[in-house]
Subunit: 112 residues, 2 copies
DNA sequence: ATACTTACTTTCCTTTAGGTAACTACTAAC
DNA sequence: GTTAGTAGTTACCTAAAGGAAAGTAAGTAT
């Protein structure tokens, strides 16, 4: 990233990506579902501090972006499963880089 | 990411990373500075839709996290330069993955 | 009939983010 | 002395995000 054409080359796509996944919760929800939490209550319990209202709203947005799939199983009580899609997996490199950076950052701020 | 221990292993550090860099503007500002925009007005002009107020606030937060350095040159008119730090460079892999994902995402939503 | 469970939704309220526009302090140029 | 540039700040207001708690619908268990 040395010159201005690189600036515009990065600003636009990074902005596009941030429009979809920025915010506190979306990636955490995808991590939870990817790790095996498929039901609303499971996901809610796995992510500290998230509320049902926020989870509900974020799940809808993720579904709209085809980053998760919502399936209703007609049992009783009704069973609903959220699963990842092939598109979710395209985010794994981003999640992994964030995980590595976060691990190092914690070392940095706690003074190693 | 298959099981619950991987869930907690990823949720915490990714959450730490998001605490520092999430939001619409911070990564875009770092891209702009990395690309050679070092002055307030240059950065402001390089990022569509950002306002002086928001830029000012975000620059302060980035400086507090040592992700940029603010230097005052005592000339006239006064010259202030924002520069990246070695710590900024540790974010490049994240930015690059976001750039690649954003490029592909635009292809996906515009129907290739 | 009552209570419980799942998967949310609704209401109310507070906080945070963001936009617009005007304003400031300093200096230089005309 | 008026205009212009740099680097912001301030005030005012709206919008979006988020928290807490209660409520809802549909079925199951007792």
């Amino acid at each position: 990233m040395e010159n201005n054409s690189e600036c515009i080359n990065a600003l636009l796509p990074v902005g596009d990506a941030l429009d979809v996944i920025s915010g506190k919760w979306k990636l955490l929800i995808l991590i939870s579902i990817s790790s095996g939490n498929h039901r609303f209550t499971d996901i809610e319990r796995s992510i500290p501090k998230i509320s049902a209202k926020v989870l509900s709203k974020e799940l809808k947005e993720l579904e709209a972006h085809t980053l998760i799939k919502r399936t209703v199983y007609d049992q009783s009580p009704v069973l609903i499963k959220y699963t990842i899609t092939p598109y979710t997996e395209t985010l794994y490199p981003i999640i992994e880089e964030l995980r590595l950076w976060g691990l190092n950052h914690r070392k940095v701020i706690t003074g190693k």
